[in-house]
């Protein structure tokens, strides 16, 4: 299995629901707690496993706003794993999830320097590295209703812009979406072969798709006999 996420940039409105759902589930999850430093003070800062960035691309008038959620890509060739000196970071053979054994992490930060996606954050309290687990503590839990065996971010996304599944299965929704909507890896040129893909914004509905010329000069308003 090659588990991962598809993120649909055509419909992501940048609401941050996935970010806080992730924080909420995982602070009590296997990777938690996700600590917050100075939670009610200047420059509050905590560990998050999923952050949403909003960018403007291009200058006016050729400019677009893009909302970009970023979490671990569960790379097939994960540099963060390679560089880990203690063996705390690993990629699971059975499903490809990249994890950090909290008992073995010494918080050296090498992995976060190696990760080009900014997906790893050092917990300010435990001093260990935290990252997306694809909610490994949800997706296999048979005591959860089957429909809820999904990462928390996917469950909560109000625009269903996040889809979870097995990229090894060509018939899975993630494979199909990636195929049909030309899903892209982020920065594939770096060679880490990220599993997650991003669906680019659809082309706006073209103006000539609606035949406005057919509407002009056809009709004049006159009284017709229409019964109430």
């Amino acid at each position: 299995m090659k588990l991962g996420l598809v993120v649909d940039l055509d419909t992501c409105v940048g609401c941050h629901a996935c970010g806080t759902a992730c924080k909420q589930w995982n602070t009590s999850g296997t990777i938690g707690p996700l600590s917050d430093e100075r939670p009610y003070e200047k420059d509050p800062s905590g560990s998050w496993l999923n952050r949403i960035r909003t960018y403007e691309v291009g200058d006016s008038p050729h400019s677009k706003t893009v909302n970009m959620p970023m979490s671990c890509m569960h790379c097939e060739d994960a540099a963060c794993v390679t560089v880990c000196p203690t063996g705390a970071s690993y990629k699971r053979e059975e499903d490809g999830i990249v994890l950090i054994d909290q008992d073995k992490c010494m918080g050296c930060n090498l992995c976060s320097w190696a990760c080009p996606y900014g997906a790893r954050e050092l917990d300010p309290n435990s001093g260990t590295m935290k990252k997306c687990t694809l909610c490994v503590d949800r997706i296999y839990d048979e005591q959860l209703p089957e429909a809820e065996r999904q990462p928390a971010c996917v469950l909560t996304c109000p625009t269903s812009s996040r889809v979870f599944g097995d990229f090894d299965d060509p018939d899975s929704e993630v494979s199909k979406l990636t195929r049909e909507r030309a899903g892209q890896q982020l920065m594939p040129e770096l060679g880490y072969n990220p599993v997650n893909t991003y669906l680019p914004p659809r082309n706006p509905k073209q103006q000539d798709q609606i035949q406005v010329s057919a509407m002009q000069g056809v009709k004049q308003l006159v009284n017709r006999i229409i019964n109430r």
Binding site: G14, A21, W25, P33, D137, Q143, T156, I210, N223
Partner: protein, 974 residues
């Protein structure tokens, strides 16, 4: 996925419990499923079965844990310390018994002498059916909720035009619409349903056009972003209407069958009765029937009314159809796309094209649903015809002083295209549509120890309905329903403090506020509002003698209170989301819901619902007292079950009847709360397929609506594109009305100018009085999605996403002014100036600057440390906005409210500003990197414990997933 043997047990489900309730972190009211273990929250998730959010949840709902854990939670009732000044923030704890004794004694005295001396105003609560009943039983006309400073323009324009509106009143038909236009919607109203809907339409390939000066949030995913100049949406809409009229692209069948477009209007300029509908002896409006070539009742099913034409009534009165007036009004150069382009900052070609695109979708891509239904006249119809163009509009339209007429203009577009309550169009949500307008008139006066004769708020249709005295002066403290704001259906909460301190129209004794931050971001002119709350008379007494605040958190307003009554959080109480109030229905189902306590209360706080019912019993309100004069209800739960507004109609519509077998109407069911709990805390009554569309003229639906008490009759709801109500007020302004008329010139002018029976565009009032050369920028604000409507708590997760707001402006303008990204600037309006940090961006109308609202906080409030970004760099735009219009006083020395002249809606977005870079000398003067103005620090409350510097929340010891040694030694190679 299936359970893997190699995984540990991460969660001990045997220790966990799932409890359902309804979220309350904004007014969206999503169903939530809360997993609790050891009385701690493990997980809050959307309830997949819930009609509102269908399992999804926003960023706020997902941060509910941190709201619950906020250090700003109030813990006990408090009294301002004797001998200290109001606003100094020195309080001492007081017991609930003592607090309620004190309050009851004070209120009893007011009630026995002059009940209107209690002004009771509530913020973004969702229990107005209860608080309104309470106020009317108390006998004060001075009650309203926050609608007057939020979105009354939308509610009023919709109810006076189509009998429903946007948001709680109606939604786009997300499943069928092919063209969706969103007007002035930031991140708000409603949260998750709009996001669910946008996903649906994008999947189906419908076109999404977003009209908004700022390209954030929803606008970012629109197919087309129309970067309109703020406040000019009415011009844009009416210009598109001109295109449609010019090309004959109107749904004349819809107009003739379902609207008053063909009704005959008296054409007697300068004479009494001009502009009113021609009526027969029974009062029925008339049409020109093309079968008989004469005047007939407009309500008859057998007529073929002329849509256009000028005629003579049998009595000789010259008349013309409403639609003829409409043609004459809009087919003028003033509304041409070319003229609109200049006002709106939109290309004329785009205005033409968008109008024609909508017409194409409405008339060439029509859809039908083959369901037999019965129309208002009892005729069977074989299908519903859908014109799949839909719209949604909200605060960007509403918060302007031309918002009522602008919203009417948007509805007019919908009506002319025939897209109202049809498949693919804009659908009503039960209990809407209502007849135009609901037959409730605002209460006019009060008497000691006597409930009001009607509700404090209602729907005026003529000058006789105004709440004014014999001299034409306002009777309400907020001057709602006076000549200042005749159709102020939600009151003018933003005027209460200002008017009460000025003693205009009279001083009050007690101001009671619930869930409203009137000393900070919910008031215009914040710094001066603080001064008003502290203001004393010549004798040294406070001009507002007593201020009571009920809130769950330490807001800036708590600081200005004399008595503070601490509320629970939403996870600690019972509550109803009632169809008598602000319903959560869907387009195809009537719905309501409850809240139940998820967590036990761990502080000395009480839910305001309970306190309301308690005080109502103590004060012996008739509706809350039994024959022995004792309190009738044991508490809130008992009240909800047993109170009936009309026989069989109560706060909750589900599981009524003594055995819970009845829906919508039925006698009280003692087990009703349990029934809701057993059904995930919501009730959903699905409409039959033949009741789902054209409900304004659908007998199958109207019979159900009448039985449920949603409407009083099954008569057709005739959509009013022409508003006779507006014309009556206009006649009063012209001195041609046979009834109350204003005496002051400025009132006459307002009525003559703004009470147009057809929507029109006018520049917002403040802008009419502001020099555009001196103040070249429009200034607006919005809430971020992750804080939308979240009026309290300063959530420690959400403030990590944003703890400081910036002033955003277009890059080209910033560069021209020499302001760099993250530079500081003075922002100055007619009312004052603020200092703010600037961010430059592309996606904004170049003439417009904007910021995120309500991020800025007063130092010391909300449980935040003294150096928190919210108070050091965050800022409010409110300082720049005055609750009164700028410039000369009106005749009689009165300055008019900065509000819509029809509805009294607060005109937050009419602001114009100038921007200048902050110089080095300024920085010397005011300190580096600090926003301005600055305020005294709010003092900590008694027994306040500052939050720790590190938070590591978990509901149970986290179970680590260990990597095996074999895997480590083999470096993952097998």
């Amino acid at each position: 996925m299936t359970q893997r043997q190699d995984l540990p047990q991460f969660e001990d489900h045997s220790k966990q419990e799932h409890r359902y309730t309804t979220c309350y972190m904004c007014a969206c009211r999503c169903g939530i499923k809360v997993t609790v273990e050891d009385e701690k929250i493990r997980f809050v998730q959307g309830n997949p079965d819930h009609p509102v959010n269908k399992g999804v949840l926003c960023a706020k709902g997902n941060s509910a844990i941190m709201k619950q854990l906020s250090p700003a939670k109030l813990t006990q009732p408090m009294l301002r310390k004797a001998g200290t000044e109001r606003g100094a923030g020195e309080f001492e704890p007081i017991s609930w018994d003592a607090a309620l004794d004190m309050l009851t004694a004070r209120l009893a005295n007011i009630r026995a002498t002059d009940p209107k001396k209690l002004a009771y105003f509530t913020g973004r609560d969702q229990m107005q059916a209860l608080t309104g009943l309470w106020a009317s039983q108390f006998g004060t006309i001075n009650w309203a909720a926050h609608g007057g400073f939020c979105s009354v323009n939308m509610a009023a324009a919709g109810l006076y035009t189509m009998g429903h509106s946007f948001w709680e009143f109606g939604d786009p038909d997300w499943e069928n619409t092919k063209y969706f236009m969103m007007w002035g919607v930031a991140e708000d109203h409603a949260s998750n349903p709009i996001k669910l809907g946008l996903k649906r339409i994008k999947e189906r390939g419908a076109k999404f056009v977003a009209v908004n000066p700022v390209r954030t949030g929803y606008q970012a995913i629109a197919d087309e972003w129309v970067s309109i100049t703020p406040g000019t949406d009415g011009m844009f809409a009416l210009s598109m209407l001109q295109v449609l009229l010019r090309e004959g692209l109107v749904d004349d069948e819809f107009l003739i069958r379902y609207t008053n477009a063909p009704q005959l209007v008296i054409n007697n300029p300068g004479k009494q009765g001009d502009g009113l509908l021609l009526r027969d002896a029974e009062g029925n409006p008339q049409v020109w029937d093309q079968h008989t070539d004469g005047v007939q009742s407009a309500l008859s099913p057998d007529v073929a009314p002329a849509l256009l034409g000028t005629y003579k009534a049998p009595c000789g009165t010259p008349v013309r159809t409403a639609f003829s007036i409409l043609m004459e009004k809009y087919m003028v150069p003033e509304y041409s796309p070319k003229a609109a382009a200049k006002a709106c900052g939109i290309k004329a070609d785009d205005i033409e094209r968008i109008a024609l695109e909508m017409a194409h979708v409405a008339f060439k891509e029509t859809i039908t649903i083959d369901t037999e239904w019965t129309d208002w006249a009892g005729r069977k119809q074989s299908q519903f015809i859908g014109r799949p163009v839909s719209m949604h509009a909200m605060r960007g339209i509403s918060a302007h002083s031309n918002g009522f007429q602008t919203c009417r203009a948007i509805h007019l577009l919908q009506v002319v295209l025939g897209t109202v309550d049809c498949p693919g169009g804009h659908l009503a949500k039960p209990p809407f549509p209502k007849h135009i307008v609901p037959p409730i008139k605002p209460a006019k006066g009060n008497a000691p120890n006597t409930p009001l004769e009607s509700a404090p708020l209602g729907f005026p249709t003529q000058p006789e309905d105004l709440v004014i005295d014999e001299n034409g002066k306002p009777r309400r403290i907020d001057k709602a329903y006076s000549w200042d704001a005749p159709i102020a259906n939600h009151g003018l909460m933003h005027m209460v403090i200002s008017n009460a301190v000025a003693g205009d129209p009279y001083p009050i004794d007690t101001l009671m506020l619930f869930m409203a931050n009137m000393a900070w971001n919910s008031s215009m002119n914040t710094a001066q509002t603080m001064d008003m709350l502290r203001a004393k008379d010549d004798k040294g007494d406070y001009k507002i003698p007593f201020i009571v605040t009920c809130d769950a958190f330490h807001s800036e307003t708590v600081n200005f209170s004399d008595l503070v009554l601490p509320d629970t959080t939403f996870l600690e109480r019972y509550d109803t989301i009632s169809m008598l109030d602000r319903p959560i229905s869907e387009v195809d189902a009537a719905c309501d819901s409850i809240r139940q306590p998820i967590l036990a209360i761990d502080r000395d706080v009480r839910s305001w619902q309970e306190v309301m019912v308690d005080i109502a019993g103590r004060l012996k309100f008739p509706a809350f007292t039994n024959e022995e004069g004792e309190p009738k209800y044991a508490g809130y739960e008992d009240f909800i079950v047993n109170f009936e507004r009309a026989p069989g109609i109560g706060f909750l519509a589900g599981w009524r009847g003594k055995d819970g077998e009845k829906s919508l109407r039925g006698e009280p069911n003692p087990n009703q709360w349990q029934a809701y709990k057993d059904n995930q805390c919501f009730f959903k009554f699905e409409l039959e397929p033949n009741q789902r569309y054209m409900r304004h003229a659908n007998k199958d639906y109207m019979e159900l609506a009448k039985e449920a008490g949603w409407v009083g009759t099954t008569d057709q709801i005739v959509i009013e594109i022409y508003s006779e109500t507006m014309q009556k007020f206009r006649l009063a302004g012209q001195g041609l009305y046979d009834g109350p008329q204003p005496t002051e010139e400025h009132h006459k002018e307002r009525l003559k100018t703004y009470f147009d029976p057809l929507p029109f565009y006018y520049p917002p009032l403040e802008q009419q009085r502001t020099d555009a050369t001196e103040y070249p920028f429009y200034a607006v604000n919005q809430r971020p999605m992750f804080m939308y409507h979240s009026w309290d708590s300063q959530n420690s997760w959400l403030r990590q996403i944003m703890s400081q707001n910036y002033l955003y402006m277009h890059r080209s303008k910033g560069e021209a002014l020499g302001i760099k990204d993250f530079g500081w600037a003075w922002v100055e309006s007619h009312n004052g100036r603020i200092r703010a940090q600037v961010k430059l961006m592309e996606g904004v109308n170049p003439e417009t600057v904007w910021t995120w609202n309500a991020i800025g906080k007063q130092q010391g409030a909300w449980g935040l440390s003294d150096d928190a970004n919210e108070s050091q760099q965050g800022f409010l735009m409110n300082h720049l906005i005055n609750e009164l219009l700028p410039g000369e006083s009106e005749a009689g020395g009165q300055r008019m409210t900065n509000s819509d002249p029809i509805t009294g809606q607060a005109a937050w977005y009419d602001l114009r500003v100038k921007i200048t870079p902050v110089s080095d000398e300024d920085n010397e003067l005011a300190g580096q990197n600090l926003s301005w103005p600055r305020f005294d620090k709010v003092q900590p409350l008694p027994n306040y414990t500052p939050a720790s510097k590190m938070s590591s929340y978990s509901s149970h010891p986290n179970v680590n997933l260990r990597r095996g040694w074999r895997d480590i030694f083999s470096r993952g190679e097998k």
